[in-house]
Structures are given as structure tokens and as C-alpha cells.
Amino acid sequence: MLRFRLASRLGSFSLEIEGSVEERSVLVLVGESGSGKTMVLRLLAGLMRPLRGVIVTDGGVWFDGESGTFLPARDRPVGYVAQDYALFPHLSVAENVAFGLKALGAARREIGGRVHRALERLDAAPLAARRPHELSGGQQQRVALARALVLEPELLLLDEPLSALDVQARRSVRGELRRLLTSLPCATVYVTHNPTEALVFGDTIAVLESGRISQSGTRGDLMRKPRSAFAAEFLGLNLLRGTVIGRERSGLVRVSVRGGELFVPHVEGEGEVTMTVHPREITLALERPAGSARNVFEGEIEEIVPEPPAGELVRISVATSPPLVAEVTRESVEALGLGPGRRVHASFKAAAVSVQ
């Protein structure tokens, strides 16, 4: 478990945040550029000294502004993958991965094996003899991860790990990275400007706006009660994962999700897909709708929460399977007499599903 409370300043920009991450879980910091995301990582890594605050892990105190304790980067068990990976251009892939082991004084005969296993875990073993400039963006990313993970860090810091990749590579790497992160024993802090990545990777998502965390919580928290317009628009989405099971003649694709089946617009390929549906696309009705909506789920209303900024809209969580959140106007809540416990049909069109 890592807990931190940090205050820092860079020119006129000030940062004041607080948070924690458990082992085997991912904290995503999501925010626009200039919100201070990279600064948080640099502070956690020990590349920058905070003005005030604390950073505490189970292993000890990394920073304490009161007592003046400050572990520099080289004394922290942290793996840091920078946005552009920063692989050493003069070293081969294997030498890059061995760099940290040598710095820590690992036994010479042990290094080769550990490097090989780290590369193998990331499907990068065949790249061992190459130089960074001979690698694609995705390969560079895997090597950078291997270089960080070979040291078995307590904390993994990822700075926009997908942003240096082209759109095509991004989707496949995202899947691999998600599988990797769920298998890691360490705590991970993942920084991104991309809300979809935040939803896909974050066990906890913290929204960073101009150096402050405007909201932090699970995906469900953000979906049911977004506290800012940004969170409502980009993060408070219904996230569905499923598997392609068939294609209709109309071009629609059938996807099985936990608890049912969905129709979604055209998707490339087979296998697993990640989909989002904005709550405003979901219609609630007391009777089963007869219209064109292909996706209908029935369940009881759990909670009704007004949505910022004005509260004209409300978010309604429905215990359908899969669970859904709908965004409707206050008037329709009153017109339909909706309230917790009421059984409703939640429906949305195939076209409302965006496949990520």
C-alpha cells in the first residue's frame, strides 16, 4: 500500500494532491495536459522533491516534509516508464534491461537469466540483441516495461504508456498491457489524458484538474455520481466488455456480455471488445419498449443522483445485468414516477455503443 499527500510548485503552477494505491491494483490519474500528471509521477519517483507532504509505503517512508526525509530516485523501489520510454540508445535491449540489475549489484551469473525471463514475460526475448532505434513503438514500450519490472519494484509508474503508439498498435497493446498489469504484484500509478484508458485500466480513477484532484473513486463511483462536467462527459460512461459471437446481415455485430447479449455497430476482428455507452443514450421506460432499440435490459432502480453542474439532469443506476447508468431529465423522473426499487426497462440503440 502506497499513501501520498503532496504539495509542489513549478513556476506559477501549484499541485496539491492526496491518494493511495494498493498492491495489485491500478490508480489512474486522468487529466488534460498541463494538469500536473507527469509532475505527480516525478514526485513519486523521487526525481523531484515535494515542498510538503508525505509518501509512505509498507516498506518505509520515502518522503516526509516535516522530518526532512527524502529518498532520491535511486533509493526507491520504483519502476518508471517515461512517456517516450527513454531506452538508452547506446545499449542493446538486453543491456538496457540489465542496467538496473547491475546498478543494484546483482550477481553476474544471475543477471542473464533474470533479463531473459523479464523479456520473455513481455514477449520481447527475440529482441534482446537489437538496439532501441531498431524497434517499433510497441516493442520499445515492452522493453521499457521489462527494464522497469526486472527490478521487481513496489511501485510502477506509467506515464501515458500508449500515447507514443499509433492508433492501430494502441488497441492491441492496450489489451496486453491490461493483462500484464492485473498480473503484477506491485501497485501501479498510471497517468493518461485519455478517458477510455482510464476506464479500462483504473481500479481507482482520480481526475486531475489544474493540480487538484476533483474526484477520485472507482469506475462505478464516477459513473453513478460524477462530480464535474469533465467526469460526467468523459469518465462517467457505461463500460462493457464482451466477446464477438456473430454478425447479422444488417451489419450489426452480436456481442455476449456478462448477463446478456448486445448488438453493436460494425467492429473489426473477433474476440474481446471493450465498449462504452454514454448514460444519456440510455432510455428508461416502465413498459418494454417497442421501438428500434435493439438492446433492452430490465432491472430495479438503485439510486438517483443529480448531476453537475446545474442538477437539471440526474443519473439513475439500474440493477440490470450488466448494470447500467442512465442520464435523464428531472422532469422525466417525475413524469414516470421513478424512484429506488422501481422496475424499469433500460434500452439503447446499437448505434449508441462505441467500440473502443
Binding site: L47, A73, R76, Y80, A82, Q83, D84, F88, A164
Partner: protein, 293 residues
Amino acid sequence: MGLPLPDPGESVIPPLPPTAPRRRPPAILIQAVTGAALLPVVALLALPFLALLLRTSPALLLGRLEEPVVLQALRLSLVTSAVATAVVIALGLPVAYLLATRSWRGKRVLEVLVDLPMVLPPTVAGFALLMAFGRAGLVGRSLGALGITLPFTTAGVVVAQVFMALPFFIGPARAGIAGVDRRFVEAAATLRASDTRTFFRVILPLAMPSILAGATMSCARALGEFGATITFAGNLPGTTQTMPLAVYLALQSDLDAAVVLSVLLLVMSFGLLLGLRSAPRGWLWNRAPVSPR
């Protein structure tokens, strides 16, 4: 061409003034100016060397190469400039690192001090060295008491060469070290490397092309050093008479020897500089592709 153009007189928007031809670069003029300048520059730089080469012949070169004056001077020049280059690297590298990575009040004074030998007349440098390290000099007296004598010794030649060649090394080495991307230094820190390890395993290899360039320049400078050497170390054959000094002396007595020595110096300097220029980009290591963002 065939399009009916509106009559400029009736147009609501005034027609564009005919600026286009004037904005175009006058290619012929530029070629004429560069061509006219290139000719005298090349002539000025190349003709003296050509004249020197024409004055010599393989027979003359081979015949005179074995003369003691030539051989002694050649051996002394090679030894002293090699030692001087080694000293320059050993002393210059830490200073270059300091200048590249730290700032402090009065740093500018050190920067000027380091650059000074480049613009100082070498005779003035030699004279100043004599005032400092001469037998009766500022510290020369104390050195003498310790049994160390610099003026008019081979060690003095090296001191003069180091003095004159240092800025030629520190400049490029500093630029090379400062040019190492901070990302790599920080990556090394997060990979648990100490400052020493980071310097030797990351900064030094990445700055190596610039460091080698600086070393080559300072070696060439040491090889050609004349003024400071003759003022500080004198002109003793076999002890302090390096090739440039031997050329100067031979000019007054033995023109053929002067020619042979000059051609040797020319070939060595040309070779050093050509080697520096022909090293292909990224021959030590290949730069990572520029961040794909």
C-alpha cells in the same frame, strides 16, 4: 492564360502589387556572390599547401626523414602531443562536466578563463607561463625547491601544449555532456544507478562523439603549438624542439628540412581533421528515433 481576367480598373479589390518576382530569391546573384567569395577563400587556404607539396618530392621526403633533426623533432612532437592530449582529457573532462551540469555565481569567470588561451597570442601565454612556473616565477621557486623544473624541459613543452589545447577540448566536451538528454539521466536514476555509474555508463558514452572530437582538436592544436612552447620551453633539439620549432629553425639554415617537416605536419593535421569529419554520424551508437509523438 486563356482565362478572362477582370479589368483591374473596374475591380473592387485592387489588384495585388507585383511583388512576387521581387520576393523570389535572386538565385543567380547568390551563386555569383558565393562563387566570387569561394574562389579567393579556397585559393588562400589551398595555395600555400599546394606550393609546399610542389616544393617536395617522395625522394626528398624519404631521404631527409631519417636525419636526426627531423627524426628527433618528429618523435618529440608525437610523444609530447600524445601526453598533452591525455592530460587535457584527464583534467578537462571533470571541468567540462562541472560546466555542463552545475551553475554557480561567478561561473562566467571560469568560462572566460577556459576560453582565454584560444584568443591569447601564444607568445603571451608562454611568457605568462614563464612568470608563473619559471625558475624565479610565482610558484616556480617552490616547485624548484621540490626538485621540479618546468621551463626549458620536455615537461614544459607538455605544459605549454596543455595550456593552449585545453579550450579546444573543454568546449566540445562540455557541449556534448550538456547535450545528453535529461530523460536518460533520469531513467538511470530510476534504475537505481549512482551518479558515478550514470556518468560512466550513460553520460560518457552518449557524449563520446563530442568528447572524441574535442580530443582530436586538442591533439591537433598541441601538435601545432609553437609560440607558447618556444617562449616557455625554449628550442633545445631533442628536449624541447618540437616539429613547429624545428621548421622555424630550419627555415634559416636548411630549407629542405623545413619543407619535409612542414609537409609531415600538414599531412598529420590534415589526417586528424579529416578523420574527425569522416566519422559517420552515429558510428559509436545510433540515436534513438526522435520520440514518435
